[in-house]
């Protein structure tokens, strides 16, 4: 029987919660390296790329490579039940997956696995001219602020990073710079600007509860990349296609 355990079930709740809003179903691949999940949303505007190395798990008992077809929306309903102090154990046998919360009590949920073929999405080849590393909370708050204003968010990078939105209601702009401490690392090889749908960034930024730090990368009129670092190792990466009017 294949079995993995993860020290904080709530981290999974946040990762699966965000993933399930992007794709309804997906295929997790577990091999010697760890757990991988890469999928695009149905409109192919956003991509999620999850990598949890085997070192991120307390226990990682996987022989060879296994693929798990998972209904993320159903799994999300279960992982949502995780409470503080719960450890998460996943067991896979034949067409079933057991989701076990080990805390004050042991709660066992059993879900059917789906017969899905893994999407073969190669590693995207993109070059980015801007890299800004900041606290994931900071980024989430910015997106929440601008969501009040408009549907599109614009990143503009020069000496500082400007993140803005506009609509008939008005305009909103947040300016970040390493000098104010709002950005941890900042590198601009070429002045850049690009627009993205705020709706997608809002969905993504909710993952801040599972990751303390995010690295935003973008170039003019190119997709942006957001890397969330998971404590204990691992990352969740998102790509969002730009809006070019």
């Amino acid at each position: 029987m294949s079995r993995v355990s993860f020290f904080d079930a709530r981290t999974w709740h946040h990762i699966i919660g965000v993933s399930s809003k992007i794709v309804e179903q997906g295929v997790f691949v577990l091999d010697d390296d760890g757990l991988k999940f890469r999928s695009m949303d149905p409109s192919h505007v956003m991509m999620i790329d999850l990598m949890l190395p085997r070192e991120a798990f307390d226990e990682y008992n996987i022989d060879g490579t296994i693929t798990l077809g998972i209904n993320l929306q159903e799994l999300s309903k279960i992982t949502k039940r995780a409470v503080k102090g719960d450890k998460l154990i996943l067991e896979f046998e034949r067409e079933l997956m057991k989701v076990i919360f080990e805390g004050k009590s042991t709660r066992i949920f059993t879900l059917p696995l789906l017969d899905l073929a893994a999407e073969r999405i190669p590693e995207p080849k993109l070059k980015f001219n801007v890299t800004a590393r900041m606290l994931s909370d900071t980024f989430e708050e910015i997106i929440k602020d601008l969501e009040v204003i408009g549907d599109i968010v614009r990143f503009e990078a020069d000496n500082g990073l400007s993140i803005k939105s506009w609509s008939e209601l008005g305009e909103g702009e947040i300016i970040l710079s390493p000098a104010t401490g709002a950005i941890i690392d900042y590198d601009v090889s070429e002045k850049s600007a690009a627009n993205y749908s705020i709706e997608y960034l809002r969905q993504i930024s909710a993952i801040s509860r599972a990751a303390d730090v995010v690295t935003l990368k973008f170039s003019t009129n190119m997709p942006c990349r957001l890397d969330y670092e998971i404590p204990n190792g691992g990352r969740v990466t998102f790509f969002v296609a730009p809006r070019i009017e």
Binding site: V45, P122, P124, K125, W166, E171, R243, E245
Partner: protein, 215 residues
Amino acid sequence: MDSQVDVKRELEKLHEAIKNCKKCNLYKSRKNSVPGEGPANAKIMIIGEAPGEKEDEMGRPFVGAAGKLLTNLLEERGLKRSQVFITNILKCRPPGNRDPAPQEVEACKDYLIKQIKIIKPKIIVTLGRHATSFILNSIGVGFKSMRKSHGRIIKGDLYGVPVIIFVTYHPAAALYNPRLKKNLEADFDILKKVVDENIKQVSKRRTLEDFFYNI
């Protein structure tokens, strides 16, 4: 980036002026002037003839039976009325819904021209002969009759704004003539194609495949 706030403010200022306008005698009989409504950044502008009784009462364009037909014609084709700017050649109701008098059009035309310059629509839909003859004459294209002109697509420079003009009947005419209603529906089918070809692709949301693996 053009400030949408400034554009909206400019349009509101213009509409305030229209509400207080006394350039012709129509202000004496009106209950409300009807500047028009819709987003200041609308890509489509629809121009009718003049407000009717219901519009005069409410101060809003196309809210009577013809307005309902217009809304249906748009929405049945996936075009939201709320995304279109709707106005008229005349901003006040001529008594008894008579035809606009030439001096009234002359007095009122600057308001429409300013609306076009502020909103900068990509597509202008003219409803009926008064709107059509005014707009076509403005770009130097002759107008003979609605029968000959309806369904036509004319590209031109309208007061410095590059536009696609689409000509069709006034919905009010179609209310009383079922044959015209069929023509009007067929015209709106063409309009839908014009919108799809000229507007939706402009704001097309790119997919990741447009960028991945091609670098």
